[in-house]
Symmetry: C2
Subunit: 317 residues, 2 copies
């Protein structure tokens, strides 16, 4: 069983972890957004990659879904004492990741090689890939604050500025990480995780060849990151609204309609099914909130079961 998951941060990491735990025997490939990556205090920080890896390694805080378990902030306290920047909450253990990664990047290793090395060290059996080894930087265009680097918008300004659009700097020349197009082509199931469509999934889709690789497959299912018009976490619903879309599961399905065959949405959004079906997408309804680790496994198993039905030619909605 070959599973490919497209993931941003927390929501993507949780569902990837669900597959990882539900089917330890499966060949799981996680393709992760790197548009949020940035350089801070001289460190190359890849928030989504780290969230996915920490989660799969059991090093993440299982309650928040991000950040490391039993983290401390002694370095950040020392940085603060010296008047350095503290708006990005770097934990001591997390810092080790950024220090080693930055050092290896300077030494000429690619981000995907480094990620592979880290996964081996952390005992992760899944294949975790950055979407590209070429740097891509998400720029958030805002009404009041102009163009913002993603982490400026996301962390420092807490997603408060009204968004007018996005640019993914470098996306036109970003080549897919070696192996990821092949993984999509060979997958028994491709899942677009419940991550932010605007800033987590869109950059992945923008990398050369990924969208068309997905279009060529019949087994691509997306999971809605919106439930009852709201995101579990993050600014996805707010972005839909600010960009003139209804903040709803159907809007997510609409954005993915050129490459998904199935769409999984929450029972709270059952009314969206009819419109989604009109776009040639089969809607599936379930309880899709992942409150805890059993919740991740439950959702993953639901999707795996759905996939086997699809392969068997039976459809249920």
């Amino acid at each position: 069983m070959k599973i490919v998951a497209l993931a941003g941060g927390v929501g993507g990491a949780k569902l990837a972890d669900g597959f990882y735990r539900a089917r330890p025997d499966a060949d799981l490939t996680v393709i992760v957004n790197t548009g949020d990556d940035f350089t801070h205090l001289g460190l190359r920080i890849c928030p989504d990659l780290d969230t996915v890896c920490y989660t799969l390694a059991g090093l993440a805080n299982p309650v928040t879904g991000w950040g490391r378990l039993e983290e401390s902030y002694a370095t950040l306290d020392a940085v603060e004492m010296l008047g350095g920047p503290t708006w990005f909450r770097l934990g001591d253990r997390d810092l080790g990741t950024h220090l080693v990664r930055s050092d290896l990047l300077r030494a000429g290793k690619s981000l995907s090689e480094i990620t592979r090395q880290f996964c081996q060290r952390w005992g992760i059996r899944a294949n975790v890939f950055p979407m590209s080894d070429d740097p891509v930087a998400t720029i958030v265009h805002t009404q009041a604050d102009g163009d913002l680097a993603f982490q400026d918008y996301f962390v420092r300004l807490r997603c408060q500025p009204e968004v007018t659009g996005f640019t993914f700097q470098g996306i036109d020349s970003a080549r897919p990480t070696p192996g990821i197009l092949e993984a999509i082509q060979a997958a028994d199931l491709v899942v677009v995780c419940p991550s932010n469509p605007w800033v987590s999934i869109a950059p992945i889709l923008g990398v050369q060849g990924i969208r068309s690789a997905l279009k060529a497959r019949e087994n691509v299912v997306a999971v809605s990151p919106l439930i009852g018009g709201q995101a579990i976490k993050g600014p996805a619903a707010k972005m839909f609204r600010e960009l003139g879309w209804k903040p709803a599961a159907l809007s997510v399905a609409n954005q993915y309609q050129d490459f998904i065959k199935s769409f999984l949405l929450d029972s709270a959004d059952v009314d969206d099914c009819e419109e989604i079906r009109q776009w040639g997408i089969i809607p599936y309804v379930s309880d899709i909130i992942m409150k805890d680790i059993p919740g991740r496994i439950r959702l993953a198993k639901y999707i795996l079961n759905l996939a086997s039905q699809l392969q068997g030619g039976t459809q249920s909605s």
Copy 2:
């Protein structure tokens, strides 16, 4: 009262702290070796500057005299888990210093400006200066291992290779930090701290204008870093031996004979006095070990008393 101290790491920091505590009203300037500075994991690390600053700020471990109080190593553990380098023991709090300093250096600030900012933040009233804002790198030439970067020799190889000489890369073009020549010229007392003559004091003396500024003064006193032929800490005695010198207080005085007027040595080395006096240097004998903070203050007071005697024209040996 204007005091200038030339210092390397631990021994220098302890005596500087003695002056700082013994005479809180004095105008204390500490000129610190930067030949040990290096870049590690992308961080600019200045071990002697940090040891002096931590000590004056009360942030140093008072037992070891170096490293920070109540330090933890969560980041280094995380680095180790990823296969990163751990031979240089970076503590979590210490890391904050290196991160902020490296960031400010990249932003174009000079090391002396950064050190001034840090001292203000840490509440240090003394003037702590790197010997130069221009980078100088101590290279240790060895018999068996060739040329070694200083920290490679000092930390990684624990000073084990036999030394044949030193090169201070960049020293010929290293300009003195603005203000330090003036501080030497205006000082009521200039003290060469009990630091390693080969790798802590020699680089300072090599910076343009410093040695001649010292030669022009009559109030330069050096304190022996060797007691009974041994260093309290570090490879000074071993270096003297390997370079063909007797590891003794008198060898230290010999190296400084062109610019010191007085030399303070331990009562264990009273036999060295006669030879030292023949070089036109007045030897002073006392118990110069600084076992604890009262010991630092006691030694500082002894030197201050000696200085006032010198100024009064009376000499005792």
